[in-house]
């Protein structure tokens, strides 16, 4: 056990999450019995009860009719497991304030890896008290335990922490075995069948299991049982899978007094941006993406993300982009009763060599450098409008006109291949996407259009240039894709358009008449 790294795991159990979710909406919280029901096999079954109902001996699994017989006029609501899951997710997001490694164990448990994080909250006991206090204030029944392994913390939180208002804390790993011994075997997170089987042979407590030889247990109950035991005791590693990957670099500012104004948030963000920049500089890295999390006192978390075209460790630049993002928020940050924690994390980093400073301490000005200017432009616009609305044109090696150049998000595709000299016919300045169908009178079989109707206006062609024949890419197009003959036409007013005929007039290669060709406007010239 000592070979594995020392970890400290906090398990938070919300035994009445379904009913708490329903009840906390109403104020003051009523203490009447409440059950949640689900329709199953034609009857309504109770799937969750609150404490008052439990006190009246109503348990999950009973039929609603039976419960009604016991407590007439009992409060009944529909059980919404989806809403419960969403709430657990939200609580997990909020618990992120203690540590970014938060794993959810549906339906009602969180496992938080607080290794190394507890000192920020004034110690493990203080952290747990703070967590439980906040949960209680939010209207949740909560139990918590801290131990050296997720398995142990889970078991203790559910089965031993009921009587501890401040949570149960197992400080040393050596004490885990002793703490777990008196707990029932169900605490090991095994299946109900396995637990029943163990009880039947007289192994009721985890302590009984620990003394038994291992091989017969594995043979009788399968390897999972021993794995769970080993995980709880710390002999085998168990990972917590957080919902979001843990950011490689984090700086945060807990605030003694909650702040509400956006300018204050921006100012805190500026301090954090400078600290993050220093942190990245020490590590020789730059951030490609950064996330600002602000935590409200009542548990809601808002996040802002900005991306960089090239790795950045300039605090002023990080702050400037965050400001753009903040300003662009449609309805502001909605501080509620205030934010009491602000965190800035670099979610994506890349190596970045240090730049030589000039002798007078100023960094060499690169403003004339086109790449930096382009990067700065793209970053600012992406922060303000969203990266999918800031685009650049990327060339592709294909004859099909609409594929030869695509508009793609600029931030994600920082490097651009240059456009080669066009080795084809004339190309329009602007391309209609999709091409617009037109009605055409043209010489048959392959003459240019003589007149056409486009957008309900009749155009008479004064001059035409073409055709330029573009064949479909047989390796990509579906069968039946037809060739296109493109014409550059100028109408009597001088408007110049790029039109094409999709398909040919006359019989096809098989001898029978093809489906008639169709004409389109594809682009506009000057």
């Amino acid at each position: 056990m000592s070979s594995l790294p020392i970890r400290r795991i906090l398990c938070l159990w919300l035994p009445d999450l379904p009913t708490d979710r329903v009840e906390r909406g109403s104020a003051p919280p009523s203490r009447a019995p409440l059950v949640l029901v689900t329709r199953a096999e034609g009857t309504m079954r109770i799937t969750a009860v609150n404490r008052a109902a439990r006190a009246r001996s109503i348990t999950p699994g009973m039929a609603l009719a039976a419960a009604r017989a016991m407590v007439p006029g009992i409060d009944v609501r529909e059980h919404d497991p989806a809403a419960d899951t969403a709430l657990l997710e939200a609580i997990g997001d909020w618990a992120d304030r203690y540590s970014p490694l938060v794993g959810r164990v549906p339906p009602d448990t969180l496992l938080i890896d607080i290794t190394g994080a507890a000192h920020l909250a004034g110690g493990e006991a203080s952290l747990m008290r703070d967590l439980l206090g906040r949960m209680t204030r939010q209207g949740f029944t909560a139990q918590a335990a801290i131990a050296g392994t997720p398995g142990a913390a889970h078991a203790l939180a559910r089965f031993a922490a009921a009587t501890r208002a401040g949570g149960l804390l197992v400080e040393r790993d050596e004490d885990i075995a002793a703490a777990l011994s008196p707990l029932p075997v169900d605490a090991l997170r095994i299946s109900a069948q396995t637990a029943a089987g163990l009880v039947r042979v007289g192994l009721k407590q985890i302590g009984d299991l620990m003394q038994r030889p291992r091989a017969p247990l594995a043979a009788r109950f399968g390897p999972r049982l021993l794995q769970r035991l080993d995980q709880a005791l710390g002999r085998e590693e168990e990972a917590i899978s957080p919902r979001q990957p843990v950011p490689p670099a984090i700086v945060e500012a807990p605030l003694a007094e909650p702040i509400m104004r956006e300018e204050d948030v921006a100012e805190v963000a500026r301090h954090l941006a400078m600290r993050l920049a220093d942190l990245l500089a020490d590590r020789g890295e730059g951030a490609r993406a950064v996330r600002l999390d602000v935590f409200r006192v009542d548990g809601i978390r808002r996040s802002l993300e900005v991306g960089f075209a090239s790795p950045c460790r300039d605090g002023a630049q990080i702050h400037s982009l965050l400001r753009h993002r903040l300003t662009a928020l449609a309805d502001g940050l909605d501080a509620g009763f205030g934010f009491d924690l602000v965190r800035l994390a670099a979610t994506e980093i890349a190596g970045k060599a240090a730049q030589a400073m000039s002798l007078d301490g100023l960094q060499a000005s690169n403003e004339a450098d086109g790449t930096q200017s382009m990067d700065g432009l793209v970053e600012r616009l992406s922060a303000a409008l969203g990266p999918d609305r800031v685009l650049r044109i990327a060339p592709a090696d294909t004859h099909i006109p609409e594929r030869a150049a695509r508009l793609r998000p600029a931030l994600a595709h920082a490097t651009q291949a240059p456009f080669g000299a066009p080795s084809c016919g004339p190309r329009p300045l602007r391309l209609l996407s999709p091409p617009e169908p037109i009605e055409v009178v043209a010489e048959v079989p392959d003459g240019p259009p003589l007149r056409f109707r486009w957008r309900r206006a009749l155009h008479r062609v004064a001059a035409a240039d073409g055709p330029e024949r573009i064949l479909p890419e047989w390796w990509r197009e579906p069968r039946g894709a037809r060739l296109r003959d493109y014409y550059r036409v100028e109408d009597e007013a001088g408007r110049r358009l790029w039109v094409y005929r999709d398909g040919l007039y006359g019989p096809g290669p098989d001898g029978d008449d093809q489906q008639g060709p169709r004409w389109f406007v594809h682009g506009l010239f000057g």
């Binding site: 753009h324 403003e367 004339a368 450098d369 086109g370 930096q372 200017s373 382009m374 700065g376 432009l377 793209v378 600012r380 616009l381 303000a384 409008l385 609305r389 800031v390 685009l391 650049r392 044109i393 990327a394 060339p395 006109p401 030869a404 150049a405 508009l407 600029a410 651009q416 240059p418 456009f419 000299a421 066009p422 084809c424 016919g425 004339p426 190309r427 329009p428 300045l429 602007r430 391309l431 209609l432 996407s433 206006a457 004064a462 001059a463 035409a464 240039d465 550059r488 100028e490 009597e492 007013a493 001088g494 408007r495 110049r496 358009l497 682009g523 506009l524 010239f525 000057g526």
Partner: protein
């Protein structure tokens, strides 16, 4: 040398002595850091206005540095998306272009402002939708100030012919013009009729402009001096164009 003026309908306008050929005020020297408006002369001339706007972007913007094109979604549907090969053939390096898709006019103007914060920006083109906010003066003033501070021109390409009150240095009305005798010119040639209807820093005028992708710049044929009968009333001139 004083500027000769003429008075017509109790409005004083700069007059043009017949015979002098004025070059259109298109060039980096005259246009650095200013706001310009471009309107189509009438329905159906949006393609010409758009092409002129792109040419102006290249002609008055800095020679290097990113070009920002803020496009409105409605404009993208009606007039099309920027097309790399065509732009390259016209002399505009598509690698310099950053295209922003805005949802409405305010967003488009906001994006232009952000673009003008960037050092090294060559120029901005804002394609505005038909529906404009009631007050274009204030956002226009902000843009004009930023453009001047940055030293980069900002072009406003409108979708409708009616002039909009905003602090622009020049206002153009563009119509398409037939090339006449078939397509002998180089494929990327574009010919438009450009009428300069407002010019805070020089005379008005009307020119036939041909785009030369090799320079790249406009070559002009001065169309008419200002003492033509309908020149004093340029809206009359515009109507004449549209009825063709």
């Amino acid at each position: 040398m004083g500027v000769a003026v003429e008075v017509q309908d109790r409005v004083i306008r700069p007059a043009h002595r017949p015979g002098t050929e004025a070059e259109p005020p298109i060039g980096p020297e005259q246009s650095r850091g200013r706001l310009h408006a471009i309107h189509p002369a009438g329905p159906g001339h949006e393609g010409a206005a758009s092409a002129f706007a792109l040419g102006l972007l290249l002609a008055v913007g800095r020679a290097s540095g990113p070009l920002l094109w803020v496009q409105d979604r409605q404009a993208a549907r009606e007039a099309g998306l920027p097309y790399g090969p065509g732009l390259a053939a016209a002399g505009l390096d598509p690698g310099r272009l950053v295209v922003v898709m805005a949802g409405n006019a305010m967003e488009a103007l906001g994006a232009a402002e952000i673009g003008l914060e960037t050092p090294g920006l060559a120029a901005v083109l804002v394609e505005l939708p038909r529906r404009l906010p009631a007050d274009m003066l204030r956002p226009g003033k902000r843009l004009a100030l930023r453009a001047e501070a940055r030293g980069a021109p900002c072009l406003l390409l409108h979708a409708t012919p009616e002039p909009v009150q905003s602090p622009v240095a020049t206002r153009w009305s563009i119509a398409s013009r037939p090339q006449g005798d078939g397509f002998d010119a180089a494929p990327a040639a574009c010919v438009v009729e450009a009428a300069l209807e407002k010019n805070r820093f020089g005379p008005l005028g009307r020119w036939t402009l041909t785009w030369d992708p090799r320079s790249p710049s406009f070559a002009s044929t001065p169309k008419v001096a200002l003492d033509e009968p309908h020149a004093g009333n340029l809206s009359g001139g515009r109507r004449a164009l549209a009825s063709r």
